[in-house]
Amino acid sequence: DEEPVAFSQYPRPADTPQWNSDKPKLKDIRIMGYSMRTSDYRYTVWVQFNPNNFSANFEDIHAGELYMVETDPNQDCNVYNSTSHGHFLKKIL
């Protein structure tokens, strides 16, 4: 009876946009963005990824996104770094 969660992911070759950012080949992937979606929020962490052994390092977080569905359905206001949501992030994690 738990509320279901949807997980998506997207690979990137670098921290800033470059010509192959949309479709990096496996060998060029350096970061993986993992998204967790519930009915209340969208939470994404972009973490270091090793294409040789397919491992994601959640200790090495390059960036984060947190959007609250009720107040920001279009995902325009990333509150990942805002202190007011710090407790919320801890709760998620």
């Binding site: 279901p4 950012s21 479709k23 990096p24 519930t38």
Partner: protein
């Protein structure tokens, strides 16, 4: 005896559909399907790009298990010999058939759409697929270009047709064959549009006068968006008409007028797709299969129409990952109809007064994933559910990482109240 399965998967279709509350689009046939279905309003792809998303939902495994994040590996060689959803139906007595773009063509499906493992006969690909990216778009100067925006005169096209028109014709032919052979079937039909180039019969543009088209509600790059999260819409930049705009990389922006034209053409391509779906479902009625066929309608991922200053897919945003997902199950989502009664009469997007088709009869707001399709369809067809995968499942041929969502069918609310009067009886 198990129901047939008609599995319709659309390339790059976000839920800009009447049955998802979009007020501009004309999608009467898909709306009609929704009115007989359970409609999931929060369904998401595992990755917003074609091959990884398709291999994921067709194997019931997540990308970290298929190890396909690009287009260049075949899971059976590269990750594990995972059974696919069509393969499972085939092993359970179904004739499995593929028309159009179901698997992503090329390396990721072994240049064979995973035939013979997944399909009973060689998959059908429209002969005109090969012209998709040719210079067939007539510019203002009368010359031909490989444009992003490409309303065409179909009679001028190579072979005088388009891939999705051919796919509909072939799918209808196969339905007739299955009926005559009294054969249980799993037919997957993969439509190309609205994937780019937005190449469709030019008359559909008339449905969307440019003066009615607005920009996205949030057409700027959000201030606190991490740069790693942004997708620079490289593929559309390579189209002749976009290239000619000489837009700066990576943030653009595209000129407002052109942004509105992209949105206008995307909607026109959606109505063209709706017509194809309508012809296919009308044929299901004509052949007398509507009462014995489960219809699934979904997409491989969404598409950004200018939101966050982005276009195309290639991101984790909702607009790129959220997809339409609906299940028509005769006798479950709708009472079985008499043999002669029509369930899906064709509705012409040009003459149909939008709003005369009620929104989805059953709607579920549960957050669900495409990776659940495999187990959900197995359960709906009365097959044994594939087992849940262990933590690491590279060595396991048959299991799924997505739980069946049939349990949410019951939890869905019947749309008896009419929250959009203009769209309900």
């Amino acid at each position: 005896d198990g129901m047939n399965i008609l599995f319709i998967v659309v390339d790059d279709l976000r839920p800009v559909l009447g049955c998802y509350g979009d007020k501009l689009v004309k999608s009467p046939n898909i709306d009609q399907l929704a009115s007989q279905s359970v409609v999931f309003s929060n369904a998401y792809a595992q990755q917003a790009v074609c091959a990884p998303s398709r291999v994921s939902f067709l194997t019931g495994r997540r990308p970290d298990t298929t190890r396909l994040y690009d287009f260049y590996s075949y899971w059976r060689v590269h990750a594990g010999n995972y059974s696919t959803m069509p393969q499972y139906f085939k092993e359970n007595g179904y004739v499995t058939l593929s028309v159009g773009k179901v698997f992503h063509p090329g390396v990721s499906s072994n240049y064979s759409d995973d035939y013979p493992y997944s399909w009973s006969i060689p998959p059908f690909h429209p002969s005109t697929e090969k012209y998709e990216n040719d210079k067939t778009c007539r510019g203002k100067d009368g010359k031909l270009y490989a444009n992003l925006l490409c309303p065409v005169n179909v009679t001028e096209m190579p072979s005088g047709t388009l891939p999705d028109i051919q796919s509909t014709e072939e799918a209808i032919r196969l339905l007739n064959v299955m009926k005559s052979k009294k054969q249980k079937f799993f037919l997957a039909v993969g439509y190309h549009k609205p994937h780019i180039p937005l190449r469709y019969p030019q008359e559909f543009l008339k449905l969307y006068p440019l003066e009615n088209i607005t920009l996205a509600p949030d057409p700027w790059v959000p201030e606190k968006l991490p740069s790693v999260a942004y997708n620079p819409w490289t593929d559309i930049r390579q189209r002749d008409d976009v290239e000619a705009l000489n837009v700066s990389f990576p943030y653009g922006p595209l000129p407002d007028d052109f942004q509105r034209q992209i949105r206008q053409n995307y909607y026109a391509a959606v109505s063209y797709l709706d017509m194809q779906v309508g012809l296919l479902l009308n044929a299901l009625d004509d052949i007398g299969l509507s009462n014995s066929t489960i219809v699934v309608f979904t997409a491989d991922h969404g598409w950004s129409l200018g939101e966050h200053g982005e276009w195309a897919k290639y991101s984790n945003f909702d607009v790129a990952t959220r997809v339409p997902l609906m299940f028509y199950v005769p006798g479950v989502t709708t009472s079985s109809v008499g043999q002669r009664e029509r369930v899906f009469p064709y509705l012409d997007p040009f003459s149909h007064i939008s709003g005369l088709v009620p929104q989805g009869k059953w709607r579920s707001k549960k957050v669900v994933e495409l990776v659940s399709l495999f187990s959900t369809l197995a359960e709906l067809a009365g097959l044994q559910l594939p087992p849940t995968c262990p933590e690491t499942s590279f060595h396991v041929a048959l299991c799924t990482e997505g739980a069946s969502i049939v349990r949410y069918f019951n939890a869905s609310e019947e749309k008896d109240e009419c929250d959009e009067p203009y769209r309900c009886f």
